[in-house]
């Protein structure tokens, strides 16, 4: 077999032995040629099997407060800086959040994320509502509750933990180098400090980013290695979808094979993490969604995204079954 295949195989063997790849090895994988790509994907699948088993973690989220965001993230439909026509609303009622959580549980999600637009939680009344909703969802469903509420204080994090939240979401979005190109109202370091606070509060961190923002392969490697260094256990990867009205509206995003290749390299770098494909998967992966799950992924957001719709969850469950995979964190039956 040719040398390119041999070196991909050696990398996979090395990762399975527990020895992390160095930057040079990861770079070579990122530049895998088209004719070797399927071998790369199959090798990432082997690593996934070895460290993560067969279950696919399905999560769902709710956009609990939408739009009018003070931040200027250039990809985002919800930034108040751009006219995107996104639906804007204040915090949804507790009953509404509970109802959505129950629906998510019914369609196969094992985790439920409460997401709010905005820099953080400045309004104590709204924050109390969210905390109360977290408690209610914990009481009335079997879901794990996650929160994506912007940059939080130590005290807020403690309150959320006590209410029963287990995981806080905060994406790095991209590399430290590329970060100022996508957002200027907060910094990469703000995010890193926040992630540290989450950890110190005894909560798990869900942290990933968006692929296809115009970043280079080196930026992608930076992000993957940053997540490795932060020992992130759950890595959501979104595929850029252009939103009319944002500065990135004209950007094209990735081809399905590019996305699969990047997912695979993330699996090599983050062998034990739940690597989860989120927004943009239907549009950017199209028919290659199943291939992405055979390329190292073991998580997916189902039932739609913050501002865009997703495919029916039944289709996702069927796809997982067809791939011989189980669902949920605990390998629950998908039927």
């Amino acid at each position: 077999m040719d040398s390119s295949v041999a070196s991909i195989m050696n990398c996979a063997d090395q990762v399975i032995k527990g020895i992390p790849l160095d930057r040079k090895q990861a770079r070579a994988l990122m530049h895998t040629e088209a004719h070797d790509t399927l071998f790369l994907l199959a090798s990432a699948d082997r690593i996934r099997q070895y460290f993560c088993g067969d279950s696919i973690s399905f999560c769902a989220d709710i956009n609990a407060r939408s739009g009018r965001c003070t931040e200027d993230c250039r990809f985002c439909a919800q930034s108040g800086y751009y006219h995107t026509g996104v639906k804007e609303y204040a915090l949804r009622s507790e009953e509404d959040l509970l109802r959505q959580a129950k629906a998510a549980e019914a369609y196969g999600a094992a985790r439920f994320g409460i997401v709010t637009s905005g820099r953080g939680q400045e309004d104590p009344v709204q924050f109390r509502h969210i905390v109360s909703a977290v408690r209610k969802i914990r009481e009335e469903t079997g879901l794990e509750v996650c929160c994506s509420l912007g940059l939080l204080t130590e005290e807020q994090l403690n309150v959320l933990r006590e209410a029963g939240a287990v995981r806080i979401h905060c994406n790095l979005e991209t590399s430290e180098r590329n970060f100022p190109n996508i957002c200027t109202t907060h910094t990469y370091q703000d995010k890193i400090r926040h992630i540290r606070r989450i950890r110190e509060a005894g909560l798990e961190v869900c942290c990933g980013g968006i692929l296809g923002l115009g970043e280079t392969e080196e930026d992608r490697l930076d992000l993957a290695f940053a997540l490795q260094k932060l020992e992130i256990c759950s890595v959501p990867l979104n595929l850029f979808t252009s939103i009319p009205g944002t500065p990135f509206a004209h950007r094209k995003g990735l081809t399905p094979m590019e996305a699969c290749r990047i997912f695979a390299v993330f699996r090599f770098i983050l062998p034990r993490a739940v690597i989860r494909v989120c927004a943009g998967r239907e549009k950017s992966l199209r028919d290659l969604q199943a291939m992405a799950f055979a390329s190292g992924l073991n998580g997916a957001m189902i039932g739609g995204y913050l501002t865009i719709e997703g495919q029916p969850p039944e289709r996702d469950r069927q796809m997982a079954r067809d791939l011989g995979r189980t669902g949920g964190e605990a390998g629950q039956d998908l039927s």
């Binding site: 399927l38 699948d45 028919d287 290659l288 055979a294 067809d322």
Partner: protein, 334 residues
């Protein structure tokens, strides 16, 4: 390294080096564990890359004469032995067939297959019509023409060749040892004779079958080796889409991963063949369809099948594009 993985590697190298897998190897290949399946597919894809290139061969078919067939193939909606409610009609008009050929061409197919129900061509007028259509379609539509016309006489084969058909299609359907369970009105020997006669007349043959008829994994391997023995270089693989009313209506569906392993096995046994996914791909493979093309296959039947509907060809073209594959071009040389 895990055992299964190393074995797959060994078989792959053997084939890539121009060697052949044995029937025993193939019986193990089709039994690849669920865990090693994605790896097997990637390796079957390497064999495809080496011997077949990037291009995918798209074909489309028309059911030119439907139903009331005297044969009793137990999977078939068109057999007169079963009440399937299939549409029955005699030979379509020239206009309708030309229209179907144009539609196939516009959808991206490079070859267009005229298929007739029945044991053979006993109606002389229909057969003359077919001969006439072959040249017309090639000339007016610019697409290659294949025919699937049942059992032919030597004379009929010669005339089809002269009329310019690209390939004659005649499926063996299944393994020789299972054929009698699938059909009793003709035999594997009849098929072999028909195919040998076409080959003798200088016609290239397209010959495959259907998996999921109740055959064993070993019988699927047997079928692949039968094709190899017959020097077949174009293999359509269908997956049973059970037809209510037929004896196989209640057959247990195959899992998508088993189908992919079976397809990959065919690639190991027939490294250079045009292996095509055809009927039943949508219902049986569902969202794993692209993995068939990324698992050793290099052909797709597009549009509708004989008695069931298929995908929108535009979706298939997009899938090919997303997989980084190109398309073959029609060979219309005289």
């Amino acid at each position: 390294m895990e055992n299964g993985y190393a074995k797959i590697m060994k078989w792959t190298e053997k084939v890539l080096d121009g060697g052949e897998v044995t029937e025993e190897d193939a019986r193990q290949i089709i039994r690849t564990s669920e865990e090693d399946t994605v790896f097997l597919l990637a390796m079957a894809d390497r064999i495809r890359q080496k011997f077949c290139g990037r291009a995918v061969d798209l074909c489309a078919i028309v059911n030119a004469r439907s139903g009331s067939c005297p044969e009793d193939c137990k999977f078939c909606a068109q057999s007169g032995h079963y009440q399937t409610g299939v549409k029955t009609y005699s030979f379509l008009s020239e206009e309708k067939i030309l229209e179907a050929a144009k539609k196939a061409k516009a959808s991206g197919a490079v070859r267009f297959d005229l298929v007739t129900a029945g044991r053979g061509q006993t109606n002389a007028r229909d057969f003359e019509e077919i001969l006439d259509l072959i040249g017309k379609i090639r000339k007016e539509v610019g697409i290659e023409v294949c025919c699937s016309l049942g059992f032919l006489t030597d004379e009929q084969a010669r005339r089809l060749k002269k009329a310019g058909i690209s390939r004659l299609h005649c499926n063996i359907e299944t393994a020789p040892s299972y054929f009698h369970e699938v059909c009793t009105t003709h035999s594997m020997e009849d098929k072999e004779k028909n195919i040998a006669a076409a080959q003798k007349a200088g016609i290239r043959v397209c010959c495959g079958g259907i998996i999921g008829l109740g055959e064993t994994l070993d019988q699927r391997v047997e079928m692949a080796f039968q094709l190899k023995k017959m020097h077949i270089d174009a293999v359509p693989l269908n997956v049973l889409n059970p037809v209510p009313g037929t004896p196989f209506a209640g057959n247990h569906p195959l899992s998508p991963m088993e189908i992919l392993r079976s397809f990959a096995m065919f690639r190991y046994v027939l490294p250079k063949a045009l292996i095509r996914t055809a009927g039943g791909r949508q219902v049986n493979l569902r969202s794993l369809q692209p993995m068939a093309l990324a698992g050793g296959l290099n052909g797709v039947m597009i549009g509708n099948y004989l008695t069931t509907s298929g995908s929108d060809p535009r979706d298939d073209l997009r899938m090919l594009h997303d997989l980084g594959r190109s398309r073959t071009q029609p060979d219309l040389a005289e």
